[in-house]
């Protein structure tokens, strides 16, 4: 019954480009899908491992920049007379490189930031994202700074190029499903149970032999790599990347999606993501000014925490 529902839902999701002939709405759905992947990756850290990472957009941005740069090729002076030159690579390889680069940053941050907990961790994670943004803004030789990276090639597999919206939609959907299954497998494994144990009670989890550093590092690496993959998808879909991909507000969007949908549930980020991905469009359709939209966003966030502190999915399950 449940499996049938999931399959029917997937078929419905896959059929959308066939009957929806509004390119703008399809674009909104693609971007929403990319953000859902990022929100799912954040959920692994926030919902399962219990670490409120407010720098998650850094991994998204690093994935986007790394993938875009690898596909465009670049040369950069590491020292005044040492030049690192990288030739343009095929896009699928670049996207993989973006994913790996984000994962490696996740490992590094995991080692450094998990020396601290709670409010300190939150602020350190924000700092990391902010440093990443300032590097993207100032290292003009590599990133073009505020001029942005332009003309990023779209994904091409043999002779097929992902130029149009429908194929990009299916690509995002496919990556999303893969990420969903990966997270599902991970959280139901021994390592996943160790994460949940850590989130519930760190001292108790340690006492029964959970390796704190390793478990958190694993969660961060997987989560960062997935966010990086989402970033790479984004870069090759919109085909322009500027330092604004690191803005704190995107992290906030991901956090709202996870918390509203239900942190620590598999379906939570998907439900929250669809809601908050489409909500701005609904508000825009109601001819509300962008500032007022954001005010509604903020107020809604407060209301959700007050009235649905565990999120929509657990609330439905209980009811």
């Amino acid at each position: 019954m449940k499996a049938a529902g999931v399959i029917a839902g997937l078929f419905f999701a896959a059929s959308v480009p066939l009957w929806l002939d509004n390119p703008y709405l399809l674009h909104v759905l693609i971007v929403t899908g990319i953000f859902i992947i990022a929100a799912m990756s954040l959920n692994l850290l926030l919902g399962y491992a219990g670490q409120l990472s407010l720098g998650h957009v850094a991994f998204f941005g690093i994935g986007a920049y790394a993938s875009a740069l690898a596909s465009l090729g670049f040369s950069v002076h590491l020292l005044p007379d040492t030049v690192l030159k990288v030739e343009a690579s095929p896009v699928w390889l670049s996207m993989l490189a973006g994913t790996v680069a984000a994962g490696m940053c996740g490992w590094f941050i995991g080692r450094v930031a998990f020396k601290v907990r709670g409010a300190y961790f939150v602020i350190v994670s924000i700092s990391f994202a902010e440093v990443a943004r300032l590097v993207a803004l100032n290292w003009v030789e590599l990133t073009q700074g505020p001029m942005a990276l332009n003309n990023i090639p779209p994904l091409a597999i043999s002779s097929f190029t992902f130029y149009k919206k429908p194929e990009n939609y299916w690509l995002v959907l496919a990556v999303g499903v893969v990420c969903f299954i990966l997270i599902q497998r991970l959280v139901n494994s021994k390592a996943g149970r160790a994460m949940v144990a850590l989130a519930e009670n760190e001292a108790l989890a340690t006492s029964i032999g959970v390796d704190v550093t390793r478990t958190l590092a694993l969660a961060t690496v997987v989560s960062a790599a997935m966010a990086g993959a989402a970033g790479a998808l984004y870069a090759h879909y919109v085909r322009i990347v500027d330092p604004d991909v690191f803005l704190f507000i995107y992290t906030v969007t991901m956090v709202i999606m996870v918390v509203t949908g239900g942190k620590g549930t598999l379906a939570g980020p998907v439900v929250g993501g669809i809601l908050f991905g489409l909500l701005p469009e609904a508000l825009r359709a109601a001819a509300i000014k962008p500032e007022a939209q954001w005010i509604a966003y903020g107020v809604l966030m407060v209301l959700v925490v007050y009235f649905l502190p565990r999120g929509i999915v657990p609330a439905l399950r209980r009811g």
Binding site: L52, S127, F128, L134, N138, I249, E291, W294, V302
Partner: protein
């Protein structure tokens, strides 16, 4: 050498306001265990109140400054009563999410009210700088610095020498025991949030006329305040005071001798470096390691 002295003087002038921002944030965290994301918006609010009072109604600059700070205190008290009063005892993530929501709503309300265009605020100080030997400093910055110092001392005096201050210190040490001794924790929290917000508004009201006021000005201020309190240790008022000056020196010298583009990154890099080599922070407190 002259250039170095000038950088140091600039850093001291800037440090006063940074300390003010940091103290407000650290006070709220220490006593209420709330990471206050609206801190930057109170800073912006202070600057915009100066704009409204000085530029729109033509009020006297100094009277406007006092009124802007009072309005900041009132807004802080309202925020606490409406948003945080019911969440007392909730975990830190919950209050943090509520404060993020409030921050988004406040910032966009500012944008709606005053548009995104930056506004400048006149000040009554002479345009010619004060020249001391090889270095010089603008008069309005001298005023900002001394006002900030006065406010910092006033905060210290309030905390160390008044009945409210004693209640705040007791709550900081152990809120359950303080409650048993008859401290009304709810009122202490409201007062703390109001004072912290007032300090942020004061920093904004002081720096608004030096620079310009724009709706997202609070983001950078909040980020710097976070860096300062991490340096000094969350909840430590002397730490925030020293941290404010440290950040100002690092930024000023870093911008002067390394790269001005990375000026705003200095504080964050400092945090990351400190965590790499000394995870307990400069002013160690036990709680920060899980």
């Amino acid at each position: 050498m002259d250039q170095f002295l000038q950088h140091c003087l600039n850093a001291v002038m800037l440090g006063g306001t940074y300390a003010l921002l940091g103290i407000g944030l650290t006070l709220i965290f220490g006593i209420m265990k709330v990471v206050n994301f609206t801190h930057g918006e109170l800073y912006a609010f202070g600057a915009y109140m100066m704009y409204m009072l000085v530029m729109r109604t033509g009020m006297d600059f100094f009277a406007a400054l006092v009124l802007a700070i009072v309005l900041g205190v009132i807004l802080g008290a309202l925020l606490e009563l409406v948003l945080l009063r019911k969440l007392r005892g909730a975990d830190i993530d919950t209050t943090m999410l509520v404060m993020i929501g409030a921050w988004i709503a406040l910032q966009n309300t500012e944008q709606l009210a005053w548009t995104g265009v930056a506004v400048s605020i006149n000040n009554p100080f002479p345009a010619a700088p004060l020249v001391i030997g090889p270095v010089s400093v603008a008069w309005n910055r001298v005023f900002v610095f001394f006002t900030a110092i006065v406010l910092i001392f006033a905060t210290y005096a309030l905390i160390n020498h008044t009945k409210l201050g004693r209640a705040m210190r007791a709550t900081f040490q152990d809120s359950d025991t303080a409650a048993l001794m008859g401290v009304r924790i709810g009122n202490v929290n409201t007062a703390t949030f109001a004072i912290g917000s007032g300090l942020a508004a004061a920093a904004g009201a002081l720096l608004g006329p030096v620079f310009v006021a724009y709706p997202s000005m609070g983001d950078l201020a909040a980020e710097k305040a976070f860096a300062i309190v991490i340096l000094g240790g969350l909840g430590s008022i002397p730490g925030a005071t020293i941290g404010g000056f440290i950040l100002a020196f690092v930024e000023e010298l870093g911008a002067g001798y390394i790269s001005s583009g990375y000026r705003d990154a200095m504080g964050f890099l400092l945090i990351i470096v400190i965590l790499l080599f000394r995870p307990t922070g400069l002013f160690a407190r036990k709680e920060r390691i899980g």
